[in-house]
């Protein structure tokens, strides 16, 4: 019997504890979300009418299935508030991903052109701010963007604006916060693609008389498209569900879906509707998640 097979059995036994943990704390909770999204709102504690109790057994289950209601989902589809909220989330995520590509690309490209030793320093320098709390980074921007903050001081001093601008509670502030928070998720996959690129292709382009910028657009850029895709999706997916950034930096107008869910849950205490929002949000995310998974797999195949 080979040694590796010898090792496999105890290794599989090691799966038991984490497996059970994930079933209890990850899989089962989804069943609860689904169940409560199909329940009726009630003014009680907890604030929903349970449709199914395990204690009632099979009869109870049959009766419960009859009681399940898609009322909450009908509400989501009929009330503009929710539809617009989903649409805004997708739009904000798409615009942010675009800005992130435009700003992240030059940075990743510059990093890939640094001497080897400096590249490691640069990677570390991109990651380090992300070990500090996410909330602190947003708060740091509130400091900069507030009416008597540094940005206005500089702009007034340079006579670019005559009076301080209200930056906070605007879309601009929200986009700044999102771009700042997600920049490494864009830069690192892009850098990984750019730094692995075969530079002899560029030498060949130069030998054939390509200028630097032509070589970039004909060789480097097309070859980096998978990295752009991976980075854009890695940002796009979580931005759709973002709550803290639009809440602290954005305006009080149209909410993103994460904010709507939060408000339904904490302010309106309507747990069934909050759960229904979560279920639909998962469905919205499914398509980009599958595309992202495909891209990752293809990258892995290319590497091996």
């Amino acid at each position: 019997m080979s040694a590796s097979r010898n090792f496999a059995r105890p290794a599989r036994i090691a799966a038991i504890a984490p497996y059970l943990w994930m079933v209890v704390f990850f899989l089962v909770p989804f069943a609860f979300i689904l169940k409560i999204s199909l329940s009726q709102t009630a003014i009680s504690q907890p604030p929903y009418e349970p449709v199914f109790e395990l204690a009632h057994g099979w009869q109870g289950l049959k009766a419960a299935v009859g009681q399940l209601s898609i009322e909450n989902f009908r509400l989501l589809a009929s009330d503009n508030l929710y539809v617009l909220s989903y649409l805004r989330s997708v739009a904000v995520a798409a615009v942010s991903a675009l800005i992130l590509v435009v700003l992240g690309y030059p940075l990743a490209y510059g990093m890939s052109r640094l001497p080897r030793g400096w590249q490691r320093v640069a990677i570390l320098a991109v990651i380090v701010p992300f070990w500090t709390s996410f909330l602190i980074r947003i708060y740091a921007w509130i400091n900069v963007l507030q009416r008597d903050g540094l940005l206005n001081d500089v702009l007034v001093a340079l006579k670019i604006v005559s009076a301080p601008v209200a930056w906070l509670s605007t879309d601009t502030a929200m986009y700044i916060g999102i771009v700042y928070s997600y920049l490494p998720f864009m830069v690192l996959p892009l850098y990984a693609t750019l730094s692995k690129m075969d530079t002899s292709l560029l030498e060949a382009a130069a030998d054939l008389g390509c200028s630097r910028s032509r070589a970039f657009w004909l060789v480097t850029f097309p070859l980096s498209l998978p990295g752009i895709g991976a980075g854009a999706l890695l940002c796009f997916i979580p931005i759709i569900g973002e709550f803290v950034i639009p809440d602290l930096l954005g305006g009080s107008g149209q909410m993103m879906i994460g904010q709507t869910l939060w408000a339904e849950f904490f302010t309106n205490r309507d747990w069934p509707v909050a759960s229904a929002i979560a279920v639909v949000l998962l469905l919205v995310l499914l398509a980009p998640l599958i595309v992202y998974d495909r891209l990752q797999r293809r990258q892995l195949e290319v590497q091996s």
Partner: protein
Amino acid sequence: MSGRPLTRLSPFNMVSLALGFAFLYLPLVILVVFSFNASRLVSVWGGWSLRWYAELLNDQAMLEAAWMSLRVGVSSATLATVLGTMAAVALSRGSDFRGRTLFSGMLHAPLVMPEVITGLSLLLLFIAAGAERGFWTVTAAHTTLTMCFVAVIVQSRLNGLDRSLEEAAMDLGCSPLRAFFAVTLPMIMPAIAAAWMLAFTLSLDDLVIASFTTGPGASTLPIRIYSEVRLGVKPQINAICTLMVAFVALVIVVASLVSKLSEAKSGSAAPL
């Protein structure tokens, strides 16, 4: 002239690097500098002072929240490291087993799942189970999230490891368990330490999941800071944020020293 190498750093590259890193670091530098501002007005510089740090020491609610966050961070990171490492060993060495696809799917999904969904679903579970919400529910929630990060980090280290050493140990009569603890575990220790550190900072950082899963009267530091930040900029907040930045910087320095030391140690042990 087209003869110069196209792979050299161009002026455009240098400008984008300078602007990019300024964008990443300036807000944090400003935050730290203004935490030492003597003036109550955040935008007016009134000279250097430690007064906001002194006021922080009298903020009982903030201190309690910090203590809660530390306890949750240490317990959930430790639990997540144990569970995540076991999961990584199973995925990397367990070859094929029933339910493997579901297992790795469950471990990867929380990495991209919006926090509002994870938080809400866990809360509904805790309510249904009748658990009293507070320290333990937040710890369980953070363990669930961070063990996935641990599993990914440790698994990639295990996959890159030379298996012939564990096989040699077993050929020499070690039981698989003994081979794991004597050979494999010491080699993946740096990855496990890094994973613990990441799990700890993720827990310390989390606002959304903790808000859903905690109960009345048990605030973590981010929950406390969030409720203050909503009311506007305050120098005390700059001070507590600076302390957190300093703490994380310290953790990173210690981590890199530890990994240097262990590298040096394994380097000197190699000729054996």
